[in-house]
C-alpha cells in the first residue's frame, strides 16, 4: 500500500498541461492516493464558490473506472459534439515495477545484501514514479473539465465530484458498454468515409491535414522516447551492478588499492542515481508530454470526425429534400431535417474552430514549458555528474 501526499512535488509534477487551476471558482486537485493491490483510490479535493455545489470544500474518493465513466458520458453527450473532449486518463499500469519486484524476489539469493537492498530501493522509487504519473494524469483530466466554461457545468461532472457514495452503481452496465463499443466501431468506419468528404472551409481543411499527419508522428515520437528512457534506466541499472562488483572486489584487496576501488564503487553508485534522475525527468517532461498530446490530438481528431459526420448528414438531408421535392411527399419534414442538420453543422463548425485554435495555443505553451524544464534539468544533472566525477578524480589522484 502506497500513498503520496507531497505537495511540493506536485507542483513540479503537474506540468503536462498549463496550470488549469487559475479560476478560483472551482479548484480541483488530487492530494492523496492509495494503492491497494490492483486498485488505485484517488482522493479528490474540491474547493468551490459555485452555489450549485452543496459545500464550499470537500473530498471524495474515486476509482479509475469512475473517471472512465465520466469521460464516456461526456463523449456521448450530443451537445458536446463541437468540443474537444479531454482524453480519458489511461489505466494505472503497475505491471512493469511489479514484474521487476517479482524477478528481484526470485533472484534474491544470487546477489549480495547491499545489492538487493539497493535494487529494492530503486524499484520502490520506480513504483512511486508510476504512481505520481497516474495521479497527475487523472488530476489533469478533472482540471481540464473544471477550467472549461461548458464542461464545468456538466451535471455528471458535478455528480462525480459530489456524490458521496460509490459511483459503481451508475457506471456502465453491460448493455451500455456494448453500445459504447458499437459507437466506436462505427466511428472508425466513419474515419475512412469522412476523410473523403469534400471540405469547403479552408481552416478545417488545413486542420484536417495537419492533425492526420501530426497524430501519426507524435505517436511514433512517443514510442521512440519511451524506448530511449528505458535504455537510460538500463544503463543506470548497470552502474548499480558495477558498483556492487567493485565493492565486492575491494573487500579482498590490499589497503591502498582497496580505497581506490571503494571510491570507484561510490562514484558508480552516485552516477547511477544521477542517471536514474535523468531518465525519470526525461520521462516526465518529454515522454509524458508526448503521450498526453497523442491522446489530445486524438480528441481533436474526434471533433473533426463528428463535424465531418454532421456535414455528411447535412448533405444527406439535402439529397433527401431534393428527393422529397421530386416525389412531392414529406417536403416539410425534409425541409425541417435539412434546417436542423445545417444548424448542427454550423454550430459544430463554430465551436470547433474556437476549440481547435485554443488547442493549438495550449499545445504550444505546454511544449515550451516542458522543453524548457527538461533542458534545465538535463543541464543541472550533467553539472552535478561532472562535479562528482571531477571531485573523485582529484581524490584518486592525490592518493
Amino acid at each position: 500500500m502506497t500513498s503520496i501526499s507531497e505537495d511540493s512535488d506536485k507542483e513540479k509534477v503537474r506540468s503536462v498541461s498549463v496550470d488549469l487551476n487559475n479560476d478560483a471558482s472551482l479548484i480541483i486537485d488530487i492530494p492523496d492516493a492509495l494503492c491497494e493491490r490492483d486498485k488505485v483510490k484517488f482522493t479528490i479535493h474540491v474547493k468551490t464558490t459555485i452555489s450549485s455545489f452543496q459545500k464550499p470544500a470537500f473530498s471524495v474518493p474515486r476509482q479509475h473506472e469512475d473517471f472512465i465513466w465520466l469521460h464516456d458520458t461526456i463523449v456521448e453527450t450530443e451537445e458536446y459534439a463541437g468540443l474537444i473532449i479531454p482524453p480519458a486518463p489511461p489505466k494505472p499500469d503497475f505491471e512493469g515495477p511489479r514484474e521487476k519486484m517479482h524477478k528481484l524476489g526470485e533472484g534474491e539469493s544470487s546477489m549480495t545484501k547491499e545489492e538487493y537492498a539497493k535494487m529494492k530501493q530503486e524499484l520502490e522509487a520506480e513504483y512511486l514514479a508510476v504512481f505520481k504519473k497516474t495521479v497527475q494524469v487523472h488530476e489533469v483530466f478533472l482540471q481540464r473539465l473544471s477550467s472549461h466554461p461548458i464542461f464545468r457545468k456538466d451535471r455528471n461532472f458535478q455528480i462525480f465530484l459530489e456524490y458521496d457514495q460509490d459511483l459503481s452503481v451508475r457506471r456502465k452496465n453491460a448493455k451500455e458498454m456494448f453500445g459504447g463499443f458499437f459507437k466506436n466501431m462505427v466511428k472508425s468506419a466513419d474515419e475512412v468515409l469522412i476523410s473523403g468528404v469534400k471540405e469547403v472551409d479552408e481552416f478545417f481543411e488545413q486542420e484536417k491535414t495537419f492533425l492526420l499527419d501530426y497524430s501519426s508522428k507524435i505517436k511514433d515520437a512517443t514510442a521512440k522516447a519511451e524506448k530511449m528512457t528505458r535504455s537510460h534506466k538500463n544503463v543506470a541499472d548497470d552502474y548499480n551492478h558495477i558498483s556492487g562488483a567493485l565493492n565486492h572486489t575491494a573487500a579482498d584487496n590490499n589497503t591502498a588499492f582497496k580505497k581506490h576501488l571503494e571510491k570507484s564503487a561510490e562514484v558508480f553508485e552516485k552516477l547511477r542515481k544521477l542517471e536514474d534522475r535523468v531518465a525519470s525527468d526525461q520521462e516526465l517532461k518529454l515522454t509524458e508530454l508526448l503521450r498526453y498530446y497523442t491522446r489530445d490530438i486524438q480528441a481533436a481528431k474526434d471533433l473533426l470526425y463528428r463535424r465531418a459526420r454532421a456535414l455528411a448528414d447535412y448533405e444527406n438531408s439535402n439529397k433527401a429534400l431534393d428527393k422529397a421535392r421530386l416525389k412531392g411527399k414529406d417536403i416539410a419534414q425534409a425541409e425541417e431535417n435539412q434546417k436542423k442538420s445545417l444548424q448542427k453543422f454550423d454550430k459544430l463548425s463554430e465551436s470547433g474552430k474556437k476549440e481547435l485554435t485554443s488547442f493549438k495555443a495550449r499545445r504550444v505553451v505546454a511544449f515550451r514549458k516542458n522543453l524548457i524544464e527538461m533542458t534545465e534539468l538535463e543541464i543541472k544533472h550533467a553539472k552535478n555528474s561532472m562535479s562528482l566525477l571531477q571531485g573523485t578524480i582529484e581524490i584518486l589522484n592525490s592518493n
Binding site: Q206, F210, D213, Y214, K217, I218, D220, A221, A223, K224, A225, K227, M228, R230, S231, H232, N234, V235, D237, D238, Y239, H241, I242, G244, A245, L246, H248, T249, D252, N254, A256, F257, H260, L261, S264, V267, L271, K360, R363, V364, F367, R368, L371, I372, T375, E376, E378, I379, A382, K383, S385, M386, L389, Q390, T392, I393, L396, N397
Partner: protein, 505 residues
C-alpha cells in the same frame, strides 16, 4: 671449490631474481618447513644459517660435494640446453644452482633490493613501443586470413634495428604464445595469454562481409593483439627470448600449424589439459607455506570477482549502444514531428531538439566505445591472466608431486638395497647403490626445482600484483575522465538548446 663457489655465487647474485624484500623473511622461515623429507630438511636447516656454507656436515648422507659437482655441471654456460637462453640479465634457466645460492642467500637478498628497484624501473620505462596496425585481408573464401603489421620501435640493444616492421597473422601470435608457455610456465613464469580464437567472428570476415560487426571484430582483435605483445615484452625474461625476438624482427616466420585446434598438436594439448585436470584432483599437496595458500585463495576469489565485474561492464556496453540507437531513432522521429508541426517557432524548436539528440547519440556511441576498450577489454585480459596465474600455481603443485614421487622412489631403492645387503649378490648390490645415487640426485633436483618455482612464483606474483594495481588505477582514471568529457559535452549541447526552447512564442 671456492672458485666454484664464487662463480656460482656471482651468478646467483646476478641471475637470481629474489622475491620482494618483504617476503625475504617469509622465505627464510618457510623454507624450513617446506618439506617433510628428513634429508632435505637437514639441508635446509643448514642453509638457514646466514653466511654458512651449509654443506660441511660430513655425516650428511646427501654428500655436499656431490651436490656441488652436479651444480657445476648445471652452471656451465656452455651447456647445450642452456644455449638459447643466454642472457646478460636475469635468466631463470641458469638459476638451478640451488645448493650454492642457498647459502649466500643473504647476500643475494641485500642485492635484491637494488635488483628489484632496477627491475621495476626497467619495467616502467621499458624503451620499446609495439603497435599492431593495418589489418589486411589475404586470400578469399574460407582460406582467407587477416594479416597485421607489427611495428617495433626501440633503442634496446638486443634488437638488431631501431625500427622493425613485420607482417604477422593471428596463428603466428598463437604460435608464439604456445612456445613461450612450454618454455616458461613450468618454471613458474606467468606467460601472458594470447587473445582468444573466434570461429564466428573470423568466419564473417572470411566470407567477406564488410559490415559494421566485421569491422568491429577486426579492430577488437587488432587491439587485443597489441596489448598481448606489450604485456609479453614487459616481462624481462620474455623480452629477451629468441622466439620473441624472432617474432618481432624476422620477415619470414614458419607457419605455426600446431596452433590449429584439430591438428595433432591441438589434440595433444587437449589430452594434456584433461590429464592436468585429473592430476589436480589427485595431487593433495601438503601446503606448508601460508603465502602460497593465501595467494591461491586470493586468486580464486579475484577470478570470481573479475568475471562478475566483466559481465556487468559488458552489459553496460550493450545497453549504452542500445541507448545510442534509441536516441538516434528518437532524433529522427522528433525531426519528423517538427516538420509536421504547423506552429513555426515550435516547429523550429523541435527540429533543434532533434539535432541535439543526434549529437547526444554520437556521444553515447563514443562513451560505449570507451566503456568497451578501456574497461571491458582490460577486464577480459585480466580474467585470462588470472587463469595463467592459477596455472602457474598448478605447475608448482606438479613440481612438488614430481619431487615427492622421486622421494618415494628413493625410499624404495634404499629398501631394495637394504634387502640385497643380506643376499650376497655383489653386482646387484652395486647396481642398487648406483640407483640410489641416481635417485638421490633426482630428489635433490626435485627439491631444487620446487624451490626454484616457488621463488619464481613469488617474484612473478609480486610483479603481477603491482602491474595489476597500476593498470587498474590508470584505467579507472582514464574512464572517469571520459565520463567527464561526456558530461561536459552534454552541458554544452543543452545550454545551446535552452534559448531555442525559450524562444517558442
Amino acid at each position: 671449490m671456492s672458485e666454484d663457489r664464487e662463480a656460482p655465487a656471482l651468478l646467483g647474485a646476478a641471475h637470481t631474481d629474489p622475491p620482494e624484500p618483504q617476503d625475504a623473511e617469509d622465505l627464510f622461515v618457510s623454507v624450513a618447513c617446506v618439506t617433510e623429507c628428513p634429508e632435505a630438511a637437514r639441508l635446509s636447516a643448514e642453509d638457514l644459517s646466514p653466511g654458512s656454507d651449509g654443506h660441511k656436515d660430513p655425516d650428511d648422507p646427501d654428500d655436499p660435494d656431490d651436490l656441488f659437482a652436479e651444480a657445476t655441471e648445471e652452471v656451465s654456460l656452455d651447456s647445450p640446453e642452456r644455449q638459447p637462453i643466454l642472457s646478460d640479465g636475469p635468466s631463470p634457466a641458469i638459476t638451478p644452482v640451488t645448493p650454492v645460492t642457498i647459502s649466500p642467500r643473504l647476500d643475494v637478498f641485500d642485492r635484491s633490493l637494488d635488483q628489484d628497484d632496477e627491475e621495476e624501473e626497467n619495467r616502467d620505462t621499458l624503451d620499446i613501443q609495439i603497435s599492431v596496425s593495418d589489418p589486411e585481408k589475404v586470400g578469399d573464401g574460407m582460406n582467407a586470413f587477416m594479416v597485421y603489421k607489427v611495428t617495433t620501435k626501440t633503442s634496446l640493444s638486443i634488437f638488431s634495428r631501431d625500427e622493425v616492421c613485420v607482417k604477422r597473422r593471428f596463428s603466428d601470435f598463437l604460435g608464439l604464445h604456445s612456445k613461450l608457455a612450454s618454455k616458461y610456465m613450468h618454471m613458474g613464469f606467468i606467460v601472458p595469454p594470447a587473445p582468444e580464437k573466434s570461429i564466428v567472428g573470423m568466419t564473417k570476415v572470411k566470407v567477406g562481409k564488410e559490415d559494421l560487426s566485421s569491422v568491429e571484430f577486426v579492430e577488437k582483435r587488432r587491439s587485443a593483439l597489441e596489448r598481448y605483445l606489450l604485456r609479453t615484452v614487459k616481462h624481462p625474461a620474455l623480452l629477451k627470448d629468441p622466439d620473441v625476438l624472432q617474432f618481432l624482427e624476422s620477415s619470414e616466420l614458419p607457419r605455426a600449424v600446431s596452433t590449429q585446434a584439430l591438428s595433432g598438436a591441438g589434440i595433444l594439448r587437449m589430452v594434456n589439459k584433461a590429464a592436468d585436470a585429473v592430476n589436480k584432483m589427485t595431487i593433495k599437496m601438503n601446503e606448508s607455506d601460508a603465502w602460497f595458500e593465501e595467494k591461491q585463495q586470493q586468486f580464486e576469489n579475484l577470478d570470481v570477482q573479475l568475471r562478475k565485474l566483466h559481465a556487468s561492464v559488458e552489459s553496460l556496453v550493450c545497453h549504452r549502444k542500445e541507448l545510442s540507437v534509441n536516441t538516434a531513432a528518437f532524433a529522427k522521429s522528433a525531426a519528423m514531428l517538427g516538420n509536421s508541426e504547423d506552429h513555426t517557432a515550435l516547429s523550429r524548436a523541435l527540429s533543434q531538439l532533434a539535432e541535439v539528440e543526434e549529437k547526444i547519440d554520437q556521444l553515447h556511441q563514443e562513451q560505449a566505445n570507451a566503456d568497451f576498450y578501456l574497461i571491458s577489454e582490460l577486464l577480459g585480459d585480466y580474467v585470462r591472466l588470472i587463469t595463467a596465474v592459477r596455472g602457474v600455481f598448478d605447475q608448482r603443485m606438479k613440481t612438488w608431486g614430481k619431487w615427492q614421487d622421486a622421494q618415494l622412489m628413493l625410499q624404495r631403492k634404499r629398501e631394495a638395497e637394504a634387502k640385497l645387503q643380506y643376499a650376497s649378490k655383489p653386482e646387484k648390490l652395486q647396481q642398487a647403490r648406483d640407483e640410489i645415487r641416481e635417485w638421490e640426485g633426482k630428489v635433490q633436483q626435485g627439491e631444487r626445482d620446487f624451490e626454484q618455482i616457488s621463488r619464481n612464483i613469488r617474484r612473478e606474483v609480486g610483479q603481477f600484483e603491482k602491474e595489476r594495481v597500476k593498470d587498474f588505477r590508470v584505467v579507472i582514471m582514464k574512464y572517469l575522465e571520459s565520463l567527464v568529457h561526456s558530461q561536459q559535452q552534454l552541458i554544452k549541447y543543452w545550454e545551446a538548446f535552452l534559448p531555442e526552447a525559450k524562444a517558442i512564442a
